[in-house]
Symmetry: C2
Subunit: 411 residues, 2 copies
């Protein structure tokens, strides 16, 4: 049995016309002799409508019941779409999360998939040509409904593709692939034909919202080729796959940025074991994600500690730090919300030297000051003043030859 | 454990304010030391919205997928209402049909309840004080979602009350009980304090839409007292219970009418065995419900056969009859859609004679001609010209003393 998994996002199933377009796509694949698992999101706007409703009902809606409510969005999508398929004689049926079942943990609102009963889906695929699965939802061990968090349908699709050993998992969306950077601020941005899972993870965590991060982790873990492409064209999009030789020729695959950053500096904290723990433990207990961290060299037993948090958490972080301020010996707590992070990403960095030097000198040429630098094996990130974000992205994009079809600069 | 089952209809949970009112009612019962199973319908208008949507998607929406879609209505109600309960600290959780589970057959769109896992609900009731169950929905043996048909939430509630042996099943709605007749056409109509299951069945089948017929059958079978009352007041409503001595004092408990009637007459059919079967078998195969049937005395081996069908089925019935017309020797097929059925109902008829005579003479006094008469043990129905419906109802209501608190006429 040749099998394809296709996931269609909210804008792809927004109304009857959109769903009819999706049906055409599915029928074409059937003609090619495939069986198809179609994973659907809620119709665009529906999840927000339900969230707004819950917030009207309750200031802090119960998370378990919220998932019961949100799951109705995908439930409506799969039933309506299956009606369309059956209308033209396709052997199809819908499946909700609990029916597959997609077993998850009990983290309502951001559940993780634990297991998918692949034998059951395989049995079903003998009887039906198209199985339409509600994305975003699963159920815990007590059959309570859970949801996987924003963009969770991507993860549903990849997890099903992994369970079934599908040839590829196609993610249909309203953009035609992954770009070297945001085309809205850099017109030279180009569509990437092939990108490594690791690169995609870095791009996604930088705010490239094409795929949910967890879906990429899943795809990487189970080596599922993911094809990100547009519902509104037949052009191939971006293939997200395991790193291969061809990817190494380019130093850098993309430039990302993130404006949701606030910088916080603790001045003159004791430079002794345990201080970092006393700072970051209470922050982490409040579920605040700390991103970049730098510690200056010690001056007379004291040092400065600087880090970034999402802007929405600035105030809460400052409140937490006030409580430990004396304990850690800080003379002042500074904060700055007019900052942004720009990053260059590429598995090619592993084999090319001088990438950092190129990035720093490109920024220097535009007189952009770098406040914090953090690096990983395949990424270099710089915290800069927010107002330079667009300029920095364009500058880096050009410096690494991404403006041209074949990235130019090689080490 | 003292246990109450309460069902709230669509108008009772139509919006936030309505749901808050329902919460008050539930909290009061908790204060009295009860645990409560609350069964909810979809918010009023929601089921129609979903049906309209499906009809836009497909001329004949697949019935299985239709049920998946419709079930979202109650799913939204129970999650939102449970949020409200949890907001004020009540130990509550929602249950969907498949979670209870409410096992049904596979008649999608009009499924019948086969079984309810009462041990599971009882276990749950040890942990929670309020269990909020989605009405109208169940699941078949393969865990596919089914729905119970219009008004199905009543049946859900009664079935759960029967399974749990609840003291009473309260059905909250936008009317304050069952009336002796339709107050819109007879201002003297009075609320009935207590009515027998059989009477309620006859009233319901006559178009008194307070309770779904199947829920009354269920209540009768398992002897569940049903209290029909208003969400918008604290006044007691109508108790639907097993027939008792007190009910026999009145000849008649109520007057009902049904304008959804069309009369069809086959003229001069052969008066011989098998003719009735040849007429009614093909009609029944088309799922058309034949109501009143009369056959005139034979004249020279020929007779007239007259019966009624719902008006929406008139044309289809005529088409079916055309095919058997020659076979049964009919010289003509007549039909008349300007007819209505009025009925007097009461278990008291079993012990009172002369009920029919009173009804016929009351109609005669108003010069209302009776076209067909049909009787059962507790009901007398007359088919009359539609334009006399309201007059006939008022006349019969008065003739049987229903205008007054204590029905007056006794045999």
């Amino acid at each position: 049995m040749r099998l394809l998994v296709q996931k269609y996002g909210g804008t792809s199933v927004a109304n009857l016309e959109c769903m009819q377009r999706v049906r055409e796509k599915v029928l074409k694949v059937l003609d090619r002799g495939y069986k198809v698992v179609v994973v659907l999101s809620a119709m665009s706007g529906e999840t927000n409508r339900l969230i707004d409703m819950a917030r009207k009902w309750s200031k802090r809606p119960d998370p378990c019941e919220m998932d019961v409510l949100l799951a109705t969005g995908e439930q409506a999508s799969v039933s309506l779409f299956t009606m369309l398929l059956k209308d033209c004689g396709v052997k199809a049926r819908s499946f909700l999360g609990f029916q597959v079942p997609i077993q998850t943990d009990k983290s309502f609102g951001k559940a993780r998939i634990l297991d998918i009963d692949k034998e059951k889906i395989k049995d079903i695929l003998y009887k039906y040509d198209v199985v339409v699965v509600a994305g975003f939802q699963g159920c815990d061990c007590e059959q309570r409904i859970t949801t996987l968090g924003r963009g969770g349908s991507d993860t549903s699709a990849v997890a099903i593709a992994a369970a079934l050993g599908a040839e590829v998992c196609e993610i249909y969306t309203d953009v035609d692939g992954v770009y070297t950077t945001d085309p809205n601020i850099c017109p030279q941005a180009r569509k990437i034909k092939k990108i490594a899972y690791e690169e995609m993870l870095e791009m996604a965590s930088m705010g490239a919202k094409v795929l949910q991060i967890r879906s990429v982790e899943f795809a990487k873990k189970y080596n599922v080729p993911v094809h990100v492409r547009s519902t509104f064209s037949d052009e191939p999009g971006t293939l997200v796959v395991q790193e291969d030789k061809s990817m190494e020729s380019a130093m850098v695959s993309g430039v990302a940025y993130d404006k949701d950053q606030a910088r916080i500096t603790l001045v003159d904290v004791y430079d002794e074991p345990g201080v970092a723990a006393r700072i970051f433990e209470p922050i982490s207990r409040s579920n605040i994600v700390v991103d970049m961290i730098v510690q200056n060299p010690s001056r007379g037993g004291k040092t400065d500690m600087t880090f970034t948090v999402p802007r929405g958490n600035t105030e809460e972080t400052l409140n937490i730090l006030q409580k430990v301020k004396d304990e850690i010996g800080a003379s002042a707590i500074l904060h700055d919300e007019d900052v942004a992070k720009v990053s260059v990403i590429g598995v090619g960095m592993r084999n090319h030297s001088g990438v950092a030097a190129i990035a720093f000198s490109a920024l220097k040429n535009e007189n952009i000051n770098i406040m914090i630098i953090s690096t990983s094996e395949i990424k270099i990130s710089c915290l800069i003043e927010e107002k330079y974000t667009e300029l920095a992205v364009r500058t880096l994009h050009e410096a690494f030859g991404l403006d041209h079809e074949t990235p130019g600069i090689k080490a």
